[in-house]
């Protein structure tokens, strides 16, 4: 069981019109790890995420999550699968007509038959777990800062105690302190809830701080996977530039000084 990948992608091909994004992409995600997906702009990191959660139909290839094929599930199976993962989109993607509390309650309300008091209590706990103050609960998404919206989006993603959370650039647009706090939050919730985290990011500090493994996307496939240290030895110009550039050195130096 332990070695079975929780997400397995084989020979994934996706394209928009004539533009092919992924061309035979393979990727395995192990249970309980935080995997960081990196790649230049337009290499299809977010597209990969959308394909794995079934928002986008690939041209070819196999995607299995929890050993079940995402592409060929019927509506009922997909519904059941969906309960076991949570997705946080780039800007939180909170429902703008609902308060934070209602946003976090929304997946519980849709998926489970639960009394209003229990639902409210559980949602309130999730809101606190992502580090939002209690008085943020009745607020509308438009009243929140970008960082708070991301946290609220995270709270909604973990509302149903999923086994996997997909995070799409969670630290983009946050100040370094906020970004570090978000990384810490991710790691802490992974420990507390036993999450597997599929993290699409550009943030070298996040990669250093919390990712167990890193998968580099380029040229339509996964170029390399491995730990941060292993990335230093990958012989590819983009990988070299990414992990040995000035920012990467700064992130590395910061980590070593800790």
């Amino acid at each position: 069981m332990a070695d079975d990948p929780i997400i397995s992608v084989r020979g994934l091909v996706t394209s928009f019109g004539k533009h092919t994004v992924h061309d035979g992409l393979d990727l395995d995600v192990r249970r309980g790890e935080i995997i960081g997906i990196v790649g230049g702009s337009g290499t299809g990191k977010s597209v990969l995420l959308r394909a794995v959660v079934g928002l986008l139909k690939p041209v070819a290839g196999q995607i299995t999550v929890f050993g079940e094929n995402v592409r060929d599930t019927n509506a009922e199976d997909y519904r059941r699968l969906r309960k076991r993962w949570g997705v946080m989109f780039q800007d939180g993607a909170l429902f703008s007509s609902l308060s934070v509390q209602q946003n976090v309650e929304a997946p519980i309300r849709e998926q489970l038959d639960m009394s209003a008091e229990t639902r409210a209590a559980l949602a309130a706990i999730k809101v606190r777990m992502v580090g939002l103050p209690d008085d943020a609960r009745p607020k509308m998404p438009s009243e929140l800062s970008g960082g708070m919206r991301k946290r609220a989006g995270f709270a909604r993603a973990i509302a149903l105690d999923p086994e996997i959370v997909f995070l799409d650039e969670p630290t983009a647009g946050l100040d370094p302190i906020g970004a570090a706090a978000f990384d810490e939050l991710t790691a802490q919730l992974r420990r507390a809830l036993g999450l597997t985290v599929f993290l699409v990011t550009h943030d070298l500090d996040s990669l250093h701080a919390i990712c167990d493994r890193i998968a580099v996307l380029a040229e339509g496939r996964v170029l390399a996977t491995g730990t941060m240290a292993e990335m230093q030895d990958v012989d590819h110009p983009w990988v070299q530039a990414y992990f040995k550039g000035p920012r990467a050195r700064a992130a590395l130096a910061q980590k070593e000084s800790l």
Binding site: M1, S97, T118, L122, R128, S142
Partner: protein, 375 residues
Amino acid sequence: METSAPQTAQKPTRPQLMLADGGLVLEGDFLMGTIESLDLQQDAAEKIDISRVGQLDTAGAWVVVTLERRAQAAGLTPQIIGATSLQSDLIATIRRNMPDADVSPPPTPTISDRLEQIGRRTVAGLRSTMEMVGFLGRVVATIIGLLLRPQRIRWTAIVHHMQQVGLNAVPIVSLMAFLIGVVLAFQGAAQLRQFGAEVFVVDLIAISILRELGILLTAIIVAGRSGSAFTAAIGSMKMREEIDAMRTLGLDPIEVLVAPRVIALILMLPVLGVIANFAGLFGGALMSWIELGVSPGVFQSRLISNTDVSHFGVGLIKAPFFALIIGIVGCYEGMQVKGNAESLGSLTSTSVVLSIFLVITADALFSIFFAILGV
């Protein structure tokens, strides 16, 4: 990598809660989907034994902490026994994150609260009326400024909007007017036939379409079609901070966005009105011929001899004013959009409702005005 989350997809067993040896014993899987069947109104107990719990997630941990809190409220110091280290970590996390007391519900509004609300709404309504009049003034001043310096006029934008609000609206406007003509002829015929005055259907159709219906219904269609488009387009630019970007570049949003739209609408609405008049008369003539046997030739000669051209003028003179109302309201509401998608939607609908309302009000005022003048 150790994890505490449920690992298996097998069906969870029903959780149970029972009293034994002065303590609460929990048994089964305490999960999101299963805890609902539990009755948490248990007597407080010194011990909470969870050694027989299978799977435990945040909802299950919440149950444990709730039971613990109840015992504490009863003055006991409960102990949780039999937890694995992962389970006690999870319980500790939930304990730390559980809000203390439920926030009390908001107080029910009193009469004075309601009065205050009425007052606030009235003031807000008056204020927004003032603002809209101010906006009208700025737009008119900008357009006059543009006329004085024609090299600043954005012809490309104006022509683009003329196509959008004018040319592209021709099919819907002419179909609508045609059908109105048909309906008028049909209904008029039924009444006039009783007096043997079928031929007066020509006057009925000509005067009502040329004077009122042609331009009024055209304005209503354009308000729904283009007024809402103005609000949505300008509103989404406002949301994405494009308007602020323009201001920092020294561009005046009124000059760049609002003036071309309003000018295009003022130029095109009369044209659409003329098209609607023709289509309406055509529909009326067709129906009179089929239903009453009034031949096109008779229709034409009666139209020319009995209907003064002033009716056409009275109808058409209203078009630029209606256009100004629709353009100003559409652009103004667009500029009011705040950061969220919700306000874009509600303001778009406000824009359509308000511009149709104001167009009809203006039409009524014109009627009174022309009646006094005796035109």
